[in-house]
Symmetry: D2
Subunit: 338 residues, 4 copies
């Protein structure tokens, strides 16, 4: 059995991790931390039947676990990752702190100094569909952001085959509210969000932009730019990204579809819908799947790729467990087929 | 024109007041206060097109208005009401501070000392359907709570005619989230409320209980007891109360229906549905109406009265403007037919 | 492996059965029927990744399975159950057709002749918490209605101990929309239901009433009457029943709580919350659990029991699989802990 | 007083028309038709307090009204418009039947023969912000589609000033469910739509495309092409269109903002938000307003225009009444400021 500790167990990604790991047949949950709720149990915090105690990170015995997941706010994750990594355990970080290879880029977008830049070259961006072999060989995973997972996986087949007319795409994304985390803010209160729909941080200013551009540039071998427009949906879970691309040469919808199917062959969680069917949130919520649909529009090469995933699962905790399975040499889908 | 000031303009009842008063053909809005947002405009705070400035209560010129509405938290309302009343203006308070005639009852339920008990005998409970003539003659209105409005109006026809078997009823109430006010709490955040439904403060502990019992006891001429079970609905606005009563002698649904129609004859906002139709939130949201349906169940006299209203309108700001119309000798429905 | 066939696979309970059985480690799905969608696959009908073919009931090989689940409309289920039962397989019917022991009661409430009354004495009401030993010995299960499951389990501890002052209770129930089945009606269209909340079939007229009264009368050994008020919630899944009872002698909330804990000891899916915590839909949606909270109100013995469950799982497909596990001598929780 | 008849009063646009016209101080509702509900009253069909009778179109006296609104399905509207126009009344059609100037284009997109092509040159596209003077002089208005209203108004300021780099834009639009009309379909049932989000008819296939391209081509004086991606939001009312444009020369967000303010100067319902504020549905639902926000992205001229409106009001019934006000020489905002 793999012994697991979770730091930051009382956020939405923490809860999702716990749900997955309680299903996982080769994992024992050793401890859960929560700075705000230490001393209580999970059942005190969530409407769930689990009496697992919550402790402070300070008192969490790192030497008692094989793997530590960190579901902490960005910034707060850096020292915790460092401590865990130095204690010799496998570390899977769900924050943004180790996703960007370049500390200067991190500091520009997150307005804070990176205090463990020496770990950046060791961290692997936890997208198994792109980096499976490198994930297998590290002890430090940087779990990707939820929006970037949808955008990167959605454009990857086109970029790998060099089909785009320009190193540029538009991502019009829509996310459920849990993406903003479990916290009390007026903007995320029920009355403000319900029956409403609103864009935020649009254009080229959302913090997920550099992460997308880093990965897409690496695939295409040249600087890639994204126009990124996130919107807030009045639902709990799920991301749908509508990607607008221009291809060098027009392809038919059928050709695009075949391309995506071929690129994702063998990937257990990539699900390309047949031509004529469009990806929806219903395809993915409460699963670790990513669903794709491809639509050619005109003779000028305009096309639309729709990508959906569950922001808390494949966009966060499911991807993290998938990485753990790879690192720990367990079947990659264990705990993730539900 | 009636010159109006609003204290506490940036809560949900404040916004609803503003919307109604901007439609009102005999009102000018003189000033709006907000301690948190003073210096900004309404359009900075709400997704609305109005540029009215927000000022602090301290700087609000009481001598410049005929009527002041107070949409402040309970407790905070007492000194503000006192100041306004002493300045000689007409005062309509939407808080709970002047609803209970007995300061000791107030202090027991609200756990705070009442610092203006001398005003309690002057305050009239602002339910025109019960107290229209007394409302006409006061300068201080205590706007009723949203739940009590539904329960009191729902039981009033039976009590006025002395038809109940015992001085007791069960009120199973369901309310939209705006009833909790405009503030950031984890419990009212979108993800917690959406797709959920939950009871709270059930039995005989919610602060609206003494208000219901005070008014129902007054109508029936003897102590009346309520079992009150509020639940939180995943919607913004609206209250539905399902009232369970036992009648002395069984009545048919038709007889109950006739009784309610007769009692509410001439009331512009009371709407009794025909037998067989049941009251829903759709009947009332965004209106000042109260909708009733009556259902006899069995030969033992069990019956169900369903009552619906919009908690922000007839349950708060609409009722407040209705009282203002009465006090200011304006058509009672002005601004309220929309 | 248990070979399973499902008749009526394309309703919401059908889909939920499929999801559970695909997780079940001792089940093989042999065939799925759908009169409307025969010739298509599951993935054509639902946003899911499963390509299982859909066939007509006519062509479904009954001799190829050990267990048949029927998720058909009431009335339509009778001949299908009869055929399957006579073919010698184990039959689990999710319709209302075999729940009532008395064909005359069935005919009165369902306005249709019961064409297989000879099977009624064989059918066992599929509530393991009440009838586990009888379930083990039959080949024909009548899966309980969703509302009755909540009301019967909620009152059972009080009735078994003879604590109620009268053989009568009020059940104020609220259900998500999936309870109405998967079909196109104006009343269940999004715009009509969203932001709305409405009672329907209230008092003593809903078809689930005789089922509740049959089971509650059996437990209490005397005719038991229910006032039942269902309401439609703007959510997909979940039932919350607020039960109003009067006890012979008042009990404290703690005593009530201990009683419920004791009665449900050893039951894997019954979950009694500690005093002070109230049952919500969040506790149960997407699980096979039933959550209870108990609240004493006053010295006259008034008390409130709140019960929640997922109408599609413990209220239908989860309970059906639980019964299958019992009949097939498999661990009762297999496939149901998710 | 203007005497008004409404054909097709029991759809969502019909109800919205009625609500607006009952507020309108210079209108009398003469009759309402509904083929399905003739013989009933409005209160039988909707949760409203109005007892207006519903009659068949056959029996509706055209000589008794000054204005007829038609809220009928496309195709069905053609003969009704023809009859009303020939009877000499003012006709405001909310269907798609008279929006396209070219009968051949209509027939290509709507797959049906246009049986009154002689009226097409008379019909004016009912967008006062573009065609006010022509609206004033006709007796036949073709009310614009909801999506086209958002896209045309959103691009108009750029096109009028010749600022776009190419005659092409991407419109990523999201609409509430009422846009699909009031009818029973599985796809629009609550359970299917709630907690879901889905694209449909994407690329260049939705029937609103030719209408957008007709109007945008007319403004720009050359063929204009749209990539149009509608999505279904789990809300009742509201459209948000995110428009992606490339400008000839990059402008700042401030410059774009000034341009939009200047172009819409004097328009009572066009509302340009200040730089930094983004348009949301909350700005417009239950109003006749259109809200715009403008965001420059980069030095290559990429920019995003966000436009919101209420699909039932400015996207249908509000615009229709606005046109009526113009034709009937009434204040253009009468009935529309609420």
């Amino acid at each position: 059995m793999i012994k697991v500790g979770i730091m930051g167990a009382t956020g939405y990604t923490g809860l999702e991790l716990i749900k997955i790991l309680k299903r996982h047949r080769q994992v024992t949950l050793s401890w859960l931390t929560s700075e705000n709720s230490a001393g209580q149990t999970l059942a005190d915090v969530f409407a769930c039947p689990w009496d697992d105690p919550l402790i402070t990170s300070e008192t969490a015995p790192l030497d008692d676990v094989d793997v530590v997941f960190l579901a902490l706010p960005h910034g707060a994750s850096i020292p915790a990752v460092k401590r865990a990594y130095e204690a010799g355990v496998k570390v899977i970080d769900l924050s943004a702190d180790f996703r960007l290879h370049d500390a200067a880029v991190y500091e520009k977008w997150y307005k804070t100094t990176h205090t463990a830049p020496e770990l950046l070259p060791i961290a692997v961006y936890g997208l198994p569909e792109l980096h499976r072999s490198r994930i297998r060989e590290t002890r430090l995973i940087a779990g990707p952001g939820c929006y970037p997972t949808s955008v990167i996986l959605g454009l990857y087949p086109l970029l790998r085959h060099g089909l785009m007319a320009e190193p540029y795409a538009i991502a019009d994304s829509k996310s459920g509210v849990s993406g903003a985390g479990r916290k009390a803010t007026l903007g995320n209160s029920f009355v403000e969000v319900n029956d409403n729909f609103s864009p935020y941080n649009i254009g080229h200013v959302h913090r997920h932009v550099p992460e997308m551009e880093q990965e897409l540039s690496a695939v295409s071998g040249a600087p890639f730019t994204i126009t990124f427009t996130p919107h807030l949906l009045p639902i709990n879970q799920g991301i749908l990204s509508t990607l607008y691309v221009r291809l060098k040469d027009p392809l038919t919808t059928d050709d695009l579809n075949s391309l995506y199917r071929e690129v994702w062959t063998g990937e257990p969680f990539m699900h390309v819908l047949p031509p004529g069917k469009l990806a929806t949130l219903r395809h993915v919520v409460n699963t670790n799947r990513v669903t794709f649909s491809t639509t050619a529009i005109d003779q000028r090469g305009n096309a639309i790729i729709v990508v959906t995933l569950d922001n808390l699962i494949k966009g966060a905790s499911g991807a993290a467990v998938q990485c753990m399975n790879i690192i720990c040499d367990v079947d990659e889908t264990e705990g993730l087929l539900f």
